[in-house]
């Protein structure tokens, strides 16, 4: 059974997100397992996105549909969902893949509902069995995993960042425009103002490395030592809820069941005890390091590597040793 897959390829800061390339690579793999077919990437963005589009061929796109206009530069759920739905209605795919980035989590349910399609969100594994797609997704905040089959055609799947590899091979994609059949004035909402928070650093949801600080840091000013280590190893800073509740860090930094769910390659928990709600948000990280002065802290039960010690001694030493390794 040949299959058609549409992938929304998200752009940020003039580049495709790694999470988008992961989706495309997964689409290419699923296409193979489903007995061939084709993968169409949908790109929405400002004027420059057309020039980026051909590069998607190497990640698995056979074709790319591009909707570009200056006013589409920044993500807008109402506008983007209309465009992805237009592409899906024209392509009639079996599967629609969207990276479960923060914006992707806003987009996927809109697209699914407008299509009357089932949605499996934040999927961490997918395989083909008997010609059908079997999806695995965490439930109860990662305390369990559900394996399921979506029954609708198409089915919409949002894919957890860092759960699938992005693989660059060779391949070219045929690029064509996607018509924009509406104007910003037609939309029911209007953005009045945008304040940029941190730029450059990957959002926690997509970060490959995270250094998180807990109450063990004793005060907001001490997060400097976390930031320095994060800077040296190219990590995003996270926090426990205790820290957020104390007002030391913004809620957008919170990792856990009522914060962000993360699965980086490396998660360094510093002065974090490892409460069940914290573990729920980060226990799918590939490698977990814990630094805590209490050898019985629950975080050590999930950590791959631990150092028992005073974080105010251990973390600055880590930063210094990393600098040495980098030849600084």
């Amino acid at each position: 059974m040949a299959s058609k897959i549409v992938v929304f390829a998200e752009v940020r800061d003039g580049r495709f997100k790694k999470a988008a390339l992961e989706c495309l690579s997964e689409a290419r793999k699923l296409k193979g397992e489903l007995g061939g077919g084709d993968v169409t990437a949908v790109v929405v963005g400002g004027a420059q996105v057309s020039s980026l589009a051909p590069s998607l061929g190497a990640y698995g796109a056979d074709r790319v549909l591009v909707a570009s206009a200056d006013w589409l530069e920044r993500y807008d759920g109402e506008a983007y969902s209309k465009l992805v739905v237009a592409a899906v209605s024209a392509e009639k795919p079996d599967v629609v893949l969207i990276a479960a980035s923060l914006d992707g989590k806003d987009l996927a349910p809109r697209v699914a509902a407008l299509l009357g399609a089932g949605l499996a969100a934040d999927v961490t594994a997918a395989k083909v069995e008997g010609g059908k797609l079997q999806i695995t997704r965490p439930v109860y905040a990662g305390k369990a995993y559900a394996t399921l089959e979506v029954k609708t055609t198409p089915q919409v799947i949002s894919v957890r960042p860092n759960a699938f590899p992005a693989e660059q091979k060779t391949g070219t994609a045929q690029v064509s425009p996607l018509a924009i059949s509406f104007k910003p004035e037609d939309l029911p909402s209007k953005v009045l103002e945008v304040k940029a928070a941190k730029t450059g650093k990957a959002d926690l949801t997509e970060a490959e490395r995270i250094v998180s600080g807990g109450r063990g840091l004793k005060g907001p000013e001490n997060f400097k030592i976390i930031e320095e280590l994060a800077e040296e190893i190219g990590a995003t800073v996270g926090a426990s809820r205790a820290v957020v509740d104390s007002g030391w860090r913004p809620h957008s930094d919170q990792v856990g069941q009522t914060g962000k769910t993360v699965s980086p390659n490396l998660y360094v928990a510093v002065g974090v005890s490892g409460a069940i709600q914290h573990l729920a948000g980060m226990s799918t990280s590939k490698c977990i390091v814990a630094i805590n002065k209490d050898k019985d802290a629950p975080i050590f039960k999930v950590a791959d590597y631990g150092i028992v010690g005073d974080l105010f001694e251990v973390v600055p030493r880590m930063t210094a040793e990393v600098r040495k390794l980098k030849g600084k």
Partner: protein, 259 residues
């Protein structure tokens, strides 16, 4: 103004989840249920808005779910009534565990439409059990109205709402025509706790039942499994002198760092 808030009864976040012997559902033994933490913020905001708006404003809470025991969703409606909502609407679901988000949105959209006039529907950004982060925007799409997700502030003026959205690496201020749907991030409102007399008074407020003919679900859950167990790892050492060894292991063994 008529404000609707959709709430779900979810296992308390401190609950350990055990999988039942059939491998498809969770073991209900000892599981405590609560109002979802984001839903609680949505409720607080809905009530705050109603109290700020003069005239005949009402808050209606809608919950779909189980109708028995500790997990009974009507109990969570009572929580919202105790916080100050005016009416509860209960949708009985014969099989709510892992109900797919499209079906939930269809049920909620039908119940919302049945309320006649409505201006604003609030949701939590996510239910902390299923974590679809989907039911709010899906319901909005089915109702044909705009949706702003991850709201950290919300003001209503006339037939418009101004919503501050915590988006990725930016904060947006969005003006949206009412009726509309909004999903609550944590900072949307302070969590509120009911007083004893409000808890007692909630018993007198109405909870209506909305009958929904559940369609065939959009997915079939084949099994539920425990997360792959994490091996307790090794304590590399004590104090800062263990750092070089840790970095070596991260590079050579875990391949989690390269320089």
């Amino acid at each position: 103004m008529q404000i609707i808030v959709c709430v779900k009864a979810v296992p308390d976040t401190a609950t350990r989840i055990k999988i039942a012997s059939n491998g498809q559902k969770i073991d209900q033994e000892g599981v405590k249920y609560a109002l979802g933490p984001y839903d609680a913020r949505a409720c607080a905001k809905a009530i705050e808005l109603r109290d700020a708006i003069k005239g005949d404003s009402k808050v209606i809470a809608i919950a779909s779910g189980f109708s028995d025991g500790e997990r009974d969703a009507k109990k969570r409606l009572k929580d919202v009534l105790a916080l100050g909502a005016d009416k509860g609407v209960f949708i009985a679901d014969p099989d709510p565990e892992h109900r797919d988000p499209l079906s939930v949105a269809q049920a909620l959209a039908a119940a919302i439409k049945a309320q006649g006039k409505w201006d604003l529907v609030l949701f939590g950004r996510q239910a902390v059990d299923d974590q679809n982060l989907a039911v709010g925007p899906m319901t909005a799409a089915l109702l044909g109205v705009a949706c702003v997700t991850d709201a950290v502030a919300l003001e209503v003026t006339g037939d418009k709402a101004v919503v501050t959205r915590a988006a990725e690496s930016r904060t947006e201020t969005i003006e949206v025509k009412l009726p509309a749907c909004v999903t609550a991030q944590r900072d949307l409102a302070e969590e509120k706790y009911p007083k004893l007399k409000d808890i007692l008074g909630a018993g007198k407020k109405p909870i209506e039942t909305f009958a929904f003919a559940w369609p065939a679900p959009a997915w079939e859950v084949k099994k539920l499994s425990a997360p792959p167990p994490r091996q307790a790892g090794k304590i590399v050492g004590e104090g800062p002198d263990a750092v070089p060894k840790l970095l070596e292991l991260l590079q050579s063994e875990a391949k989690a760092l390269t320089f």
